[in-house]
Each structure stands twice: as structure tokens, then as C-alpha cells.
Symmetry: D2
């Protein structure tokens, strides 16, 4: 089809443009500006915001993704391994199967937390304690990003991430808010819950200017990396068949 | 966009046509000819072949799907349950995750068997034993549709399906071929392997005129039904968390 | 692994049981009771409710699925075709890709409508108009299952489905409620919106005893059938490449 | 379930180990060694090979992924956009849908090329021209990684990648082989086809020691990044509805 046949006046993608000898992405020359010069993390920032990040932002994005990539055997990675058992030659199917479990229960909490931190009803307040009170009210008391079954009273990942944010001058109002949320909940309930890793990332990402909708993107790239780690282990030392055997045997008590 | 803006000369779908008061699918009136008058199995045949099936064909397609729907706890259904654990409100994600494991290892054997049965190098021979010899040679000795880890020396589903095919006058050359393949392998190896359910379905589907590419479609509809059964059980009596706990505990031998 | 190694006291699936010569599903013998005797629709009811349906229920379930299977070129079926273009040998990937688009915007309305119709705050009222008022209030005025961009003032599918429900003695309180909802909205707004097909199915499914969570299952089986129809057409008369060309050309107005 | 109930002697994942105050991944301390210290690319190498990469390897892996991430509007990214239209709140479903199209036709060529370059029947030869002849024979003349519809006679990405490999002392026997393959095909056919980006990456990845099965992993991480770019654009300037309208209008020539 020649381009003259294409209906006019319609919106197209403006991300990439190619001809025989060059490719431009968000206005940058792939071969001269990007390949060999930038990291995939830079490229992710370019895709999400339209421009390359500075050094501090890049380091934080890498820290986010390194934090989120690997959680050992989770429903996601087990599902990916089992999909590989049935479809061993289609790596993308196993990865997709793993990502589909990264829904409301696991990754939703991070974007939900970022959305609350960016809610105008929260950000309109000047004092962190007021922002915290407003956020807790909007969240009906159950704040995503707070609490962890294993890592308590502190999540060591959050401690590290906040230290890094301070070091890189990225610790701002959203970080103050989530810390105040934790403090307020402690005062109200008497229980000292940790800010978990998704809460810390939601806050820092907000402070460096990422929209809450973008935050789940970091998690999906990171999870893809983690799932690939499990699929690599599965290829070399398969667990899929024994998981199947175990589950099939459940309930056979005689 | 008005349709006058659409480029001409391009191919569109000719499956469905709607206006405010009627919907036609493959030329049939959805409300007057189909809803209330035909089954989803009839509709599947309409989608795959462009016309409604006769009574014998319908009964065989239902028999195929009923045979293929449920296999207890399999990698597919376990993956679907685990995806539901992470994304409990997105039933379609859990179903998709389960279908992705229906790849080469589980469902490939059925379409591979049908492809072999429809190979011109096989069908050119008149005698079943010649067709069988040719098929075995093309398959390099490893014939999909033959053998089963549990159901031996006979797969009771195949016995039933072939009886049904005979009753409905659908037992033809492809059925003869797969039976001859089994016999030839028995003579050559001394081991009497069963024709498994996928082999029986591949043969009967071939004899009633389905292309090998269509055969995997029956399996995907059937698997969707079976996965929904497991997800229903999972909703009422969840196993997902305990599967996670079990797998997480693997290898902790101290 | 022998079953004696399996941890005791854990919950297993109780859907299927097999030995070398027989397979039982929900207590029925697959080869003697099911294959050749029941349809895939019967089997779906068995999976969703644990028992085979009567003739009226079966006919309604088939009518639901026939209604929902095919909607022409939709985002779902286009996505499935494009996935087939990139992964032509993996039919299950294309189907899964299509199902993933059957989310909140398209299929959510049916289960949302069924959930509202089954809400105790709705069903506690005796008069249809009271149930309708309560449902509209809970739904904040925007009732899923009401309205259609093309089929107005009546959706011919709903007319047919309600007629069938009456014929089969399945027209009950939930049908009365959704009709009253439509009437109330008409009186309040002056606009006569149709009960669309998802609203009719949600109501009838509720009246024959299906939980709202099960309702999306009918849609997923039906959509699998419809997607297979489009993938069959795509295999014979491919549109994928031209869709790609069209979209790639968008915005090139010079 | 206590871990004492877990069956012994079974294989578990050895990737990650956690307790209340620390998390170890492939033996490294997540909080002290990884977060803030390494990039997601380092982490990917750790997942694929069990150890952190050196500077040259990291730079090449980033170059691979930056090269593979973004290809403008492709079947994958269009499918992802359409899935988002139907399921706008489930970013992971849209990403999964896009990845499912990254099958044999698009990404298979890279792992197929790497597999050929690592085939013992190829690597047993000392001279690049002999390796090339052997590879072409195994590939039956149609070599993945050679040829491109737009970028010819040179793919500028491959030129850049090979220059980077030389600069980083990573240009080795596999790179020599793919260059000799191209030369041999040129001599035999008279047509000078380019080594495309997937061919260059397959060769360099082989020379720095990656198994062919791992190579598709780079592509999947990169594609996840690229798909997220398109979904971000889709969120801000949606094309999905107009793509639907365009495709629905196809074939309406009257």
C-alpha cells in the first residue's frame, strides 16, 4: 500500500522514524546517539518521558528495577515454569504467563500507592502529617505500600532506597508523606509496620516526577528480568514436572 | 471516520455484518437463525468451516471437546490457578495463562498427528498398511497420537470415540491409517501402545473433513472450559497459596 | 514421587480422578456417561456447577454463548490476528492475546451487571421498581448492561434472549429488575436506552442460578470460539500485514 | 504448612534466599551489593549466568537491548495498544499480549541464528569460510540474521554493534563466521544482503559466551521496554479506537 492511500488526519505513532540508513527514536539517532552510549534503563526513561534521564534518575530507576526483579519462587515464576513445561520452545509464552500474575495483588500496590501520593487531595496539603492524614482517609485505612509479612519492623530494601534517594537529592515531599503515613498508622494502631519496597519506590518515583501510571512499567521490566532468571534455572534444573506431581498428589491422603 | 475515508482495494473480514436491527454471521441471521436454535458447537463449526454442521458432525465435535476439556491438575490448570492468585479479578488473564501452556508438548501432538494423516505422501497410498508405513517414515518413528503413560494397553477414550465414529458412519481412511500405524509399530517393536485420545480425534476429525490446522481449535475451546472448571474450584476452595508454600519449601532439607 | 511423600492435610482438586481404564469427572464416568452423550455446553455447566444441566438450562447457555461469540472485527480479534502474524505456528498465543483484551471495557459489563442484580441490597426488595431503584443507586447511575452504540432503541439479541427465557420458564426476578431499570432510566432521563445483550444474559443467568463470577466464563468460552473464527479467516485470507501497513502509515500526511 | 512437611529430596530454586533482615540473590546481598550499586542489565546477566558482568559485557548487553527495544508500530505494539483499549487498567495484560507476538517470525531469527553459530558442526571448523559453508548447509540456504527489507545494503545497527564489539575486544569467531556467511551468500547469489541487527547480536552474544537459549531473553526485556513506550503514548494520545475503526471499515468498498 502506498502511503498516499492512507487516510489523512489520523493520529500515528511519533516514537520512531526510519529510512534505509538511519533510525530515530524520540528524535535521537539510534545508531549514533543511543547504541553503545546509553543503557536500557536510559532507554526506558526515554520511552516513558520522551527524554534521556540524568545520572541520579538513571541510578534510581536501576535501583527500583533491581529491587523489584527477583522474589524467589512466587506464583508468577511458578506459573512461568509450568507454562515452559507445556510449551518449552516458546520463551515469550512463559514470560507472558508470568507477567499475567503480576496483577492487583502483587504489583497493584505500587501503582495504587503512587496514585494516592499524587492525588491532589493529598498534595494540596503543606505539612507531611496533613498529607498523611488525607491519604489514609482516601485509602480507607488500608494503605498500599505499608506492611510486609516477612520484612519487619523494617524492610531493608526501603531503608536502602531512601538512603539512596537522600544521597542523590531525590528525597522529597512524597517520601515525607509515606514516612508520615507510617508514623500516623503507628500512633493510631500501636503497631509499627514497615514501609515496604513498593511503597518506597512509589514515593521516590513520585518525587522524581514519574506519573503513577508509569510506575507499574518499572515493575514489569523488572519482573521480565526475574522471570527470565527462573526460566533459565528451569531449563538447567527443571522443577516443573515435580511441581505437577506434587500438586497432583495433593489431597490423596489414603 | 466515515467509511469513505477507508482505503479501497483492501481485504476486510467477511464474517459478520451488522446494522441497527440485525446481525449476520457467515450469512446467517444471528437472532432468527442462531440464538436459541443452535449450540455453541454448531457455531464453532460455522466459524471453522463457514456452514452449520449436520447432526453426526455436531455430535462428534462435542465428543472431541468433552474428551479434551478436563485432565485434572495439569501444568496449564495449575498456572491458571496461580495467575488467579496474583490477579484475582481478571478471569481472562488466568484463562490466557492456562492456554499458553497448551503448546507443543500437550496439544501439539493432536495437530501434528492430523497433519501427518493429511500429508499427501500418506494419503496417496490406497492400503492402510502402506499409508501407515509412509506416515511412520515421515514421522521418523515417533508418531504423535500413539502411546499414553497411564491409559494402556488401551486408552478408553479412544475406544469410545472410535465406536462413536463407527455408529455415526464417520470411520474412514484416516481412522484406518492410525489403527494400521499402531499395528505396524506393535509388529516392529513388540510393544502394544494405545492410540491415545489426541490420535483418535486427529483421525476422526480428518475423516469428517477438518483441516489439520483447525483441529487445535477444538482443543483450545475445550481447554478453556476445563480451565474455567479449575478456576471455579480455586475460587471456592483455593489451592494457590498452598501450592506456593509447597514450591517455596522445596529444597529446604534442613 | 510416590503419593506417600506428599504432605498430608492439604487440599487437592476434586474435579477429576483417573486410573488406567477409567476417568471420572465430577463423579461422572467420562467414557460411559459423557463422551458421545453430552455436549461441551453440558460439560461447561458441569464444571461451573458440579452437575449436568437440564434441557432448558443447556439451551439458554448455548444461546448465551452463541450471542457472545462473534462481534466482527474488534480490538480482541485484531490483536489475535496480529499476534498470529508474529507467531504463526502458536494458535494458543493468538487466542490468549485476544482474550486478554476481553477486560473491563468489553466483558466486565456483563459480570458487573450480574453482580449488581445479585447484590443483597437489590434482591431484598420485593417490587421490581424498588430493586431497580436500589440497583441504579448502587451503580451511581451508570448501569452496565444498558445502552448500545448501534443497536437502539432495541438490541435485537436481547429481545430474542428474553423471548427464549419466557419460552423456557426462565424469566424471573432478575429479568424483571433489569427491565425495570431500563424503564426507570427512561423515565428519569427521557432517553430510551436498550437492554443490551450482556444485560439480558446477566439477568437470565442470574434467574437460572449462576453466580455473577461464573457469568464471565460463558463469555470467555464464546470469545475463544469467535477468535478462532477470525484466526481461521486470517489463515486463509490474511489481513494482518495490511493492518500493520495501514497503522504504520498513519500520521504520514505529507 | 511448616517446612518439615515438605517432601525431601526434591529440587527447589536456589536463586533467592530471604530472612527478616536480608535477601540474597545468586549469593549476593540485595541491599548491600546490588540496590544502588548495579544496573538492571547487570542484574539480567546475574540471572542468566549466575554472576555479575564486567564493564565490556554490560555495555554490550545494553547495546543489544537498546537496539532491540523499539521498532515503531509493529504487530506486537499494535496488539498491545488494542489490548489496552479493551482492558485499560491492566498494563500487564497489554504487555503480555505484545510479547506473545514476538514469536518465530520476529524474534525467532535471533535465537535461530545464535543456535546455528553455536552448532558443533559449525564451530568444529577453523576457517571462517568453512564455518560459513557448514552453517549455510545446515540452514538449507536460508540463514536467519541475514537480510532486511529496508536497511540495505548495510544495516546501520549492525555496523555500529560490530564496531562496538571490536572496541571492546569482543569481536571473535562467531562474528567472523556471520561475516563470512554474508560474503559466501554474496558470491553464490550475486546479491549483497546485510547482516541485520539480530544476526549481529546473535554473533556478538555468542562470542561473549551466551548460550543461544539466553539470547531471546535480551529481546524479551528489550521488547517489554519498547511496548511500554507505545502503551505510554497510547495512554496520552490514543490510536486504538481509530485502528479499530480503520480495520472495521476495510473491505467496505461501496
Amino acid at each position: 500500500m502506498s502511503s498516499s492511500e492512507v487516510p489523512r488526519g489520523l493520529v500515528g505513532s511519533s516514537i520512531a522514524r526510519s529510512d534505509a540508513s538511519s533510525i530515530h527514536i524520540h528524535g535521537l539517532d539510534l545508531c549514533n546517539d543511543l547504541i553503545g552510549g546509553v543503557t536500557i534503563t536510559d532507554f526506558l526513561a526515554l520511552e516513558l518521558r520522551g527524554e534521556l534521564p540524568g545520572a541520579a534518575e538513571r541510578r534510581l530507576l536501576d535501583a527500583f528495577m533491581v529491587t523489584l526483579a527477583e522474589h524467589g519462587t512466587t506464583p508468577s515464576t511458578i506459573a512461568a515454569r509450568l507454562t515452559m513445561l507445556g510449551s518449552p520452545d516458546q520463551l515469550q509464552s512463559a514470560v507472558a504467563s508470568g507477567l499475567l500474575g503480576a496483577g492487583s495483588r502483587f504489583l497493584g500496590s505500587m501503582s495504587d500507592c503512587a496514585r494516592l501520593l499524587q492525588d491532589p487531595r493529598v498534595t494540596e496539603h503543606r505539612a507531611p502529617s496533613d498529607r498523611a492524614a488525607s491519604l489514609i482517609e482516601i485509602a480507607n485505612g488500608s494503605v498500599p505500600g505499608i506492611g510486609h509479612p516477612l520484612h519487619k519492623p523494617e524492610d531493608p530494601r526501603s531503608v536502602k532506597l531512601f538512603a539512596l534517594a537522600r544521597e542523590l537529592d531525590a528525597y522529597g515531599p512524597a517520601c515525607e508523606t509515606i514516612v508520615a503515613v507510617r508514623q500516623t498508622l503507628h500512633e493510631r494502631t500501636g503497631t509499627r509496620l514497615p514501609i515496604n519496597a513498593t511503597g518506597a519506590i512509589a514515593a521516590i518515583a513520585t518525587d522524581i516526577g514519574y506519573e503513577w501510571q508509569a510506575v507499574r512499567g518499572f515493575a514489569l521490566v523488572a519482573r521480565t528480568v526475574g522471570i527470565l532468571g527462573h526460566l533459565t534455572e528451569e531449563r538447567r534444573a527443571p522443577m516443573g514436572q515435580q511441581i505437577w506431581d506434587l500438586v497432583e498428589g495433593l489431597g490423596d491422603d489414603d
